[in-house]
Amino acid sequence: MKYATVIGLEVHSELKTKSKAFCSCSTEFGGEPNTHVCPVCLGMPGALPVLNKQVVEFAIRAGLALDCEIKKFNKFDRKNYFYPDLSKNYQISQFDKPICEHGHIDIEVDGQTKRVGITRIHMEEDAGKLVHSGATIKTSESSAVDYNRAGVPLIEIVSEPDMRSAAEARAYMEKLKAILEYTDVSDCKMQEGSLRCDANISVMPEGATEFGTRAEIKNLNSFRALERAIEYEIQRQIQLVEDGGTVVQETRTWDDGKGMTLSMRSKEEAHDYRYFPEPDLVPVVIDDAWIARVKSELPELPAARKARLMQEKGLVDYDAENIVSTKAMAEYFDEAAKHTEDSKGIANWLLGDVSAYLNSENITIEKFPITPANLGEMVNLINKGVLSSKLAKKVFAEMLKTGKTPQALVKELGLEQISDEGAIVKIVEETLAENPQSIADYKAGKDRALGFLVGQIMKKSRGKANPEMVNNLLKERMQ
């Protein structure tokens, strides 16, 4: 039987505020355990929360960037459960009145554009961190709780179950991350946990209208983990159904080392959160003027930036799409493009050798050793004919190692392409004198002879002769 997959994502994004959501403790990452804490985030009796205005501001901004409707009336609710990472035994969240609803993201997969709905975005607080005494949670006799992250503001972005493959889920996540980065509401560091993703996955016979029972996969802290976990889970569920079993609704965790999802065997009661309105916080009413102001301050978003790169810089759709996929890459491009007229050349390098280097070193463009100015200058040197594409690769490699300017390296390495006609004529004549047979062959119509002669000349000049000039001179002399 053929199966269809249904995927919905719940994404938690830590907001980039200076202080926590409901107290004034610092949100700074790291720090000794329990040093960014106070009676409010430690859940001391009698301590009262007060909402950070910037949290609302960021939530509105993210909502507008994701084409959501911003709800005027907002309240907070308590989500009750017992787990040591919660100091109060409840999490302050929004239950039935989320700040944003009905948004969407357009993704592109295999050249097709698809719209993925966003059900809601709500504001809530992060929990603390457990450091387990053993290797894993299951083998630990005890855990140490650090509440430095407790109370750090989050937005949870819940998608519609609109995705049908791991590739679509990844594309959605990448686009969402880019938009959150562009709007500057979050650091979006998946490794540090400032952007986290849970996936709800179910399978059903192809053509069915009723979704199958879903499993929720947690702990997806990279795009790769997201894609692999979904692919694994789809196969697991199909296998289970094929073997006559049934999928149970449960929470599973992704084990990256083993490459499989594992049941967390949570107790049934864990899902009885008994939400009720948070009596310690009064409602937040957002008026039109507030929304209008945030809207007017929205920075350029990926879609607009892509359009601008295509219109003003002449980039093709595919290149522009890839350049704007992260804010840092788009910024590097803009900066490099200030130093050369050849934007297309910059795009080619960024999506070619630069991306290959970033992938091989497993770093992002922020840590790329070549400055945008130097990359721009290198493109200029190629266009002026000073560097052949072969020599440019050599200079590029040296720039990676030394960080020197391309001009300095060309001199230092003696790589200047020989474009002086007199010098090239000399080598051409020398080569022709040594290879009379090739001249004869060429005259007899054997084009391969030309290639051979060019090769000889390049060898003599140690790759530095301007190939175009060599070609022209050769043809001229052999007429």
Binding site: S26, P33, F73, K138, S142, S143, A144, R265, E269
Partner: protein, 95 residues
């Protein structure tokens, strides 16, 4: 009776409370009294009335995003029954 002793047991478990067997009946009865009172309130016609989110006639009590030093680790851990590496030491979390 809407609430049974089974419900009381469940709620007690969710709340991490131990209710002695001898008081089970009493709690069950009191829970039902509370719900019966809510039923009386439900008789009122509240059509077209916005639900109350908060009893105070206030909204938008907000603070500026300024970080302020909290308490020291030593003070934070003062009431902790057990401490490990600057953290609150808790027994194993998964059975």
């Amino acid at each position: 009776m809407k609430v049974t002793t089974k419900d009381v047991e469940y709620i007690a478990q969710l709340s991490r409370l131990t209710i002695p067997e001898s008081e089970m009946e009493k709690f069950t009865e009191q829970f039902n009294q509370i719900l019966n009172y809510a039923d009386i309130l439900n008789e009122l016609d509240t059509k077209g009335i916005e639900p109350t989110a908060h009893v105070l006639p206030l909204s938008n009590v907000l603070r500026e995003d300024v970080a302020v030093e909290g308490v020291s680790q030593e003070v934070a851990l003062m009431n902790a029954p057990a401490v490990h590496d600057g953290g609150f030491k808790v027994p194993r979390v998964i059975e």
